[in-house]
Symmetry: C2
Subunit: 243 residues, 2 copies
């Protein structure tokens, strides 16, 4: 996994490995990234032994990582059968977005009160990164773009000052990324960027209700761009004749 790349990235990886000293979390994060980037397709079997050999560790730590992922809804564990990359149903997807429409405007209210110059700078950095990525073509850039978009929303959560809701949103954003990778159809992520800009503007102006409205609209926008018609198992006949 990632064997063939230049070593610059690996170095970064080692740096945080040495400092954090929490190897299960590293495994968790790598798997998580791979899942939301869709380098691991839904329903992919996540064999403990295989992952263990990749990270050169025992199954013990792999199991903890997989457990964490299952709590976040990114993997599904079936007893005596193993762990698989989650394959969220359309209904699940709707629930995730409903939760985001509820939580994010609330976070915005808190964020507006606490927003300082540092935060704004961080937001602008993220927006710049998104702009950069928008120009690049290719699947990798698209993945990075989805991730960057998530970072924007997480920045909002961080500023809000409610750690409980922040943790919830972290899960929701990760699951959203998976859902988008699964059901996304157009290059919708690009229109999302302009909306992020608008949201930041409204934040700076301290207009909470406007931020809320923009967020709801933005999340709606993302959801509407998904193809959430029933598929993925169960629709055998559909799969054969509908497409």
């Amino acid at each position: 996994m990632g064997r063939g790349m230049t070593m610059t990235l690996a170095d970064t990886h080692f740096a945080e490995w040495k400092t954090s000293e929490d190897r299960a979390v590293v495994i968790h994060d790598q798997l998580r990234d791979a899942i939301i980037d869709r380098r691991l397709a839904p329903d992919t079997k996540l064999s403990e032994a295989e992952i263990g050999s990749i990270f050169d560790t025992s199954r013990t730590l792999v199991r903890t990582a997989l457990q964490m992922l299952s709590f976040e809804g990114l993997v599904r564990v079936e007893r005596n059968r193993g762990a698989f990359v989650a394959n969220p149903s359309p209904e699940e997807a709707r629930q995730v977005f409903a939760a985001r429409r509820l939580i994010e405007p609330a976070l915005a209210i808190g964020a507006i009160e606490r927003l300082d110059a540092t935060d704004i700078a961080a937001f602008k950095d993220l927006l710049a990164k998104e702009t950069e990525l928008m120009a690049v073509r290719g699947a990798d850039a698209r993945r990075a773009e989805i991730r960057a978009s998530g970072d924007f929303h997480m920045q909002l959560a961080r500023v809000s000052g409610n750690a409980v809701l922040e943790k919830f949103l972290e899960e929701l954003v990760a699951r959203s990324s998976l859902v988008i990778a699964l059901y996304g159809q157009s290059g919708a992520s690009s229109c999302g960027h302009g909306e992020h800009q608008e949201i930041l503007d409204a934040l700076e102006q301290g207009d909470a209700s406007r931020v809320g409205a923009l967020l709801v609209h933005h999340i709606d926008h993302i959801e509407k761009d998904l193809d959430l018609r029933m598929r993925s198992s169960q629709g055998l006949k559909d799969a054969l004749f509908s497409s």
Copy 2:
């Protein structure tokens, strides 16, 4: 642990043990109940070996259970030091209640659309149980009352049809119970009961905004009855001279 009681409860326990066949979850549930009932005080050390011997199992399963509890915010794990019952700060408590004020009215909206006769019967059962407990005196009854109150809110979540938010609320309710056990002062739980009745009435009438308002008021009520002035560590001088 529970050695002195009659065996009727233990039988129930064994029944579900045999069927579920998921021993880590059983350990998790028992610890969770003990924590939110405050039979385990905050900051109590949860030794792996000790718990293992209590449940007659290896540390492996105990560790998984403790991990689950830490994800839910009910225990705190310190590296190389072990797991401890969480001791939520007042700030944390406020965040938990803020999250509930946000989520529960949203759940109510979904619940009203889906509410059927079975659900209403379930609600009434829960209310009856609460009434029953209200009459009983003693610490055990008080614990059971807090738990029953949580069940009412979880019933709302179950009916709402959003599994994602339901999972969030499950965590929030558990943490609330812990917080109430920690910071609760009066027999506030009793006034909560009447409010539950009102909420159910409004639910039956299908008046979403009224249910929402009642819920917010109810949660506010619970929170206002807490003593959330800074304490628990750090306030050494305060602890000595203020009380």
